[in-house]
């Protein structure tokens, strides 16, 4: 085998390595981007759910009808979280307490549950953060 043909054979081998490397890189990139985006979306969704549950509890503490608060909450969630599914929304109001429960399923199938419970009157109580 001549030196030239040896080099060509090596190059062929190395092209194979490059293809494998490229495939690994693409898989890595897709996993990295996809995973990162999914994590980011879930993180933001969690923040939004927490904030929305707090606002729903605030709404419940007013004299606004409960169904209006529930509608506003659903609209707020569906408006911002287009991916994923709202599984459960429950609002409860009593003389001393307001309570909001939300269950939301991420596109990846993970269910986020938020329980926001506040004593009335609201004055002197903590905020959402």
């Amino acid at each position: 085998m001549s030196a030239l043909s040896k080099l060509v054979a090596k190059l062929r081998d190395q092209r194979g390595v490059a293809a494998v490397e490229a495939t690994v890189s693409v898989v890595f990139a897709v996993a990295f981007i996809g995973g990162g985006l999914a994590f980011t979306y879930t993180f933001l969704a969690h923040l939004w759910l927490k904030n929305s549950a707090y606002e729903a509890s605030i709404c419940l503490s007013t004299s606004q009808p409960q169904f209006e608060c529930e509608q506003a909450l659903k609209k707020r969630l569906k408006g911002a979280l287009t991916l994923g599914q709202l599984e459960h929304v429950q609002l409860q109001r009593s003389q001393q307490k307001v309570k909001t429960n939300i269950a939301w399923k991420t596109p990846a199938g993970l269910t986020l549950r938020i329980d926001d419970q506040r004593d009335l009157p609201l004055l002197g109580k903590r905020g959402v953060w």
Partner: protein, 249 residues
């Protein structure tokens, strides 16, 4: 040549990764920015609500005190009625008439004192009702300034961003006298009291005020605004007036 090829191929993964780094930072920046906006909005709303509720609670105490004093007003009206009847009945008996007139004068003094104390309480509540929205606005702006002080200095902010735009309504503390023009009337909230007593505060500011400069560069050129609103009023519950947030419409 062989060395070059190997070096190039080994760097392929690294180059691919490096290409993703700006994307990673952009995404992290966006997430951080959104979280910051959400957090600031929640903090400002909380401050606004707390300010209005605190003031409404103080006003509700005054109002409940005024309403509790109404019993004294009714008692004085009855005393006045009896004293006036006594004066009429003793018109033909001079010594008793003088005593009855003295009693009537004493009741009138008590009525004047009662009315004065009620008016003072009403004035206090009115004053607080009028100034609260402006105080709440100042408190929210101060909170915003605290939150943005780490982002940029005042000179920079005033040069690039307009001051937060605020809007408040003019709530009124209105009570009705019954009977009208009496010396010791009952003071009752009017039928539209909850509506007239409602305090509304709205503050709008440029998002650039709360975002770091590197993140501001990622935002579109047109100015994005964040609006914080809160309303609170007094509502009657179990014969007592209590402070309550009202729906922002």
């Amino acid at each position: 040549m062989k060395r070059n090829i190997i070096t190039n191929e080994a760097g392929f993964g690294l180059v691919s990764f490096l290409a993703l780094v700006p994307l990673l930072f952009a995404v992290l920046g966006l997430v951080g920015g959104l979280a910051l906006v959400l957090k600031t909005d929640a903090k400002l709303k909380h401050e606004c609500r707390t300010q209005l509720l605190e003031s409404q609670r103080s006003i509700s105490k005054t109002l409940n005190q005024i309403l509790a004093n109404n019993k004294q007003g009714a008692f004085l009206r009855a005393m006045r009625f009896r004293a006036e009847a006594e004066v009429r009945a003793t018109a033909s008996i001079p010594p008793a008439h003088v005593i009855a007139q003295a009693d009537l004068a004493a009741v009138k003094v008590q009525q004047a004192r009662y009315k004065l104390s009620q008016k003072a309480l009403i004035l206090l509540a009115r004053r607080q009702t009028v100034i609260t929205p402006r105080l709440a606005t100042s408190a929210v702006k101060a909170r915003l300034a605290d939150d943005t002080s780490l982002i940029a200095d005042e000179r920079f902010k005033s040069a690039y961003f307009p001051s937060p735009f605020s809007r408040t309504n003019q709530p009124r503390f209105e009570l009705e006298e019954t009977p009208k023009n009496d010396d010791s009337p009952d003071y009752e909230p009017r039928s539209d009291f909850t509506a007239t007593q409602e305090m509304k505060v709205s503050i709008e500011f440029d998002l650039g005020l709360i975002l770091p400069s590197w993140l501001r560069a990622l935002l579109p050129q047109e100015r994005l605004k964040l609006k914080t609103e809160c309303n609170a009023t007094l509502e009657k519950e179990n014969e007592k007036w209590i402070e309550r947030l009202s729906a922002v419409r």
